[in-house]
């Protein structure tokens, strides 16, 4: 945990991977993202927390343009997010995404889920793609389920497959949109462990979550959002033990005493 924090401090400022500048978005009358400025360095693990409706999921989805934004810029590895078409597809391939509801392709086996992107986007050959898929499934601990369909797996297993599917594209950054919120309590840890391992391996991660334990142990930085704004950013220890804003104090007081 301390080690990770040290790594973060050592990251040079020039190596910004994801940069959001002055990003705004409305859902009707609701100003869901308000002047968001956020920079994520290569290798950094940023955890975004906040009450529901604070815009954290929207923020996460905006980074690979599953949500459009109205103003401001988002750039990934120095390149601004393209509007549509081929360029956007290419960029999305470099940004791994893990969803709250797993979203595994229901008509394909676990193995096919992990090879599909490699075959169709990266144009890998079938044998290499399957080898890589099996290695990744092994890494997330679901090798035995390779030939089953998603509906035959537990939620925790499905989410780990979803992580493997995203990793198969060799993403530059991984986005996690509440990856454990749809899981039964006893399955949350198996997913968090995989994520923690990823963080240790140096993956750049943006994680929207309610898992404060994960934020404490794996994050380099905690971003606290409320009402569409980034209210506070701090290293986890500082944020949890000594939050500066009243909004964060209030939020933490409601969740931490359990």
């Amino acid at each position: 945990m301390t080690e990770v924090s040290v790594t973060k401090d050592a990251v040079p400022a020039a190596d910004d991977l994801v940069v959001l500048k002055n990003v705004n978005k409305h859902f009707g009358a609701l100003h869901v993202l308000q002047d968001i400025d956020l920079t994520i360095a290569r290798g950094e693990v940023v955890v975004v927390i906040g009450p529901s409706g604070s815009g954290k999921s929207t923020l996460c989805r905006a980074i690979n343009r599953l949500e459009t934004i109205e103003s401001g810029t988002i750039s990934i590895d120095g390149k601004p997010l393209p509007a549509e078409g081929k360029e956007l597809a290419r960029l999305r391939a470099d940004v791994g995404m893990v969803f709250q509801s797993f979203n595994l392709f229901a008509h394909k086996t676990v193995l096919e889920n992990v090879t599909l992107g490699q075959l169709k986007v990266r144009k890998a050959d079938k044998k290499a793609a399957e080898e890589k898929a099996r290695a990744l499934l092994d890494r997330v601990g679901v090798t035995a389920q390779a030939d089953k369909y998603p509906a035959q797996l537990s939620g925790g297993q499905q989410q780990r497959v979803a992580i493997a599917r995203a990793l198969a594209m060799d993403p530059k950054v991984m986005l996690f949109d509440e990856p454990t919120s749809a899981l039964d309590p006893e399955m949350i840890n198996e997913v968090l462990e995989v994520m923690q391992q990823l963080a240790r391996d140096g993956m750049t991660m943006i994680v929207v979550t309610h898992e404060m334990g994960f934020a404490r142990s794996a994050a380099n930085r905690v971003v606290f959002m409320a009402d569409g704004k980034i209210v506070e950013e701090a290293v986890p220890d500082q944020f949890f033990s000594n939050p500066r804003s009243d909004r964060a104090k209030d939020f933490l007081s409601k969740i931490l005493h359990h």
């Binding site: 690979n64 599953l66 549509e84 078409g85 081929k86 597809a89 290419r90 960029l91 999305r92 391939a93 470099d94 940004v95 791994g96 995404m97 969803f99 509801s101 979203n103 595994l104 392709f105 229901a106 008509h107 599909l116 992107g117 169709k120 986007v121 369909y149 509906a151 035959q152 979803a162 599917r165 995203a166 594209m169």
Partner: protein, 221 residues
């Protein structure tokens, strides 16, 4: 009792019905799928075309469409469908008309199937870098098809029976031969029963097979 059947090629007529049905089914499945793809595409022009096509074509009586292929396309615009032979031409024009008409219903069935595929499936496909057509072909449509096998069976059964309209432009399928027989023979009720039975033999298995397929291929979520 059935000697009135002599001198008529009833089996041949039903064979023409089967051929009309199969060719039109394949054609309308392809064209209907393309129309459905247009209707969900991000390009406004394609969406507009798909929507207009469906709304116009499905509201025109089939007889008008079939008669138009013969009197309009063939006689006025000189569309020969690659043959000077009147019978072959009529058959091909009828298939064209059935494809044009049935595709509108296939499109709507498939589009309702697309709506049963959770949005997250397409989002996940886009998130790994698949483009629109790959997302549709590899992820959304395979699941959509499986959920609309039942409705597509309805369309296919309707199509089988609709092929009788081809009699209007002289295609020698079942209904035309039936009409001839009714004009020339006395056993009107029996003739009708024979042809009704023939169609049930064609369509009943369609429904049963598709029902079985629909259960077997259902996507488990």
């Amino acid at each position: 009792m059935f000697d009135f059947l002599e001198g008529y090629d009833v089996l041949g007529a039903f064979w023409t019905t089967v051929q009309l049905t199969i060719l039109s089914a394949v054609g309308s499945l392809i064209w209907g799928t393309l129309l459905a793809a247009m209707r969900v595409s991000p390009v406004p022009l394609m969406r507009g075309f798909g929507t207009a096509y469906v709304h116009i074509v499905r509201n025109i009586p089939l007889t008008v469409i079939i008669v138009f292929t013969s009197l309009g396309l063939a006689d006025i615009f000189g569309v020969t469908m690659g043959s000077r032979d009147f019978d072959v031409q009529g058959f091909r024009l009828a298939v064209l008309g059935f494809v044009a008409y049935t595709a509108a219903f296939v499109c709507e069935a498939i589009r309702s199937g697309i709506n049963t595929v959770p949005l997250g499936q397409a989002e996940a496909a886009r998130a790994i870098g698949l483009n629109f057509s790959q997302t549709l072909r590899l992820v959304v449509l395979p699941q959509a098809f499986r959920s609309v096998i039942g409705p597509l069976a309805n369309v296919l059964i309707a199509l089988t029976k609709n092929t009788t309209v081809a009699a209007a432009i002289g295609v020698a399928e079942a209904a035309l031969v039936m009409k001839e027989m009714i004009e020339n023979e006395a056993q009107v009720l029996l003739i009708a029963a024979v042809f009704a039975f023939g169609f049930v033999v064609l369509t009943l298995p369609t429904g049963l097979i598709f029902g079985w397929l629909s259960k077997r291929l259902a996507v488990k979520r």
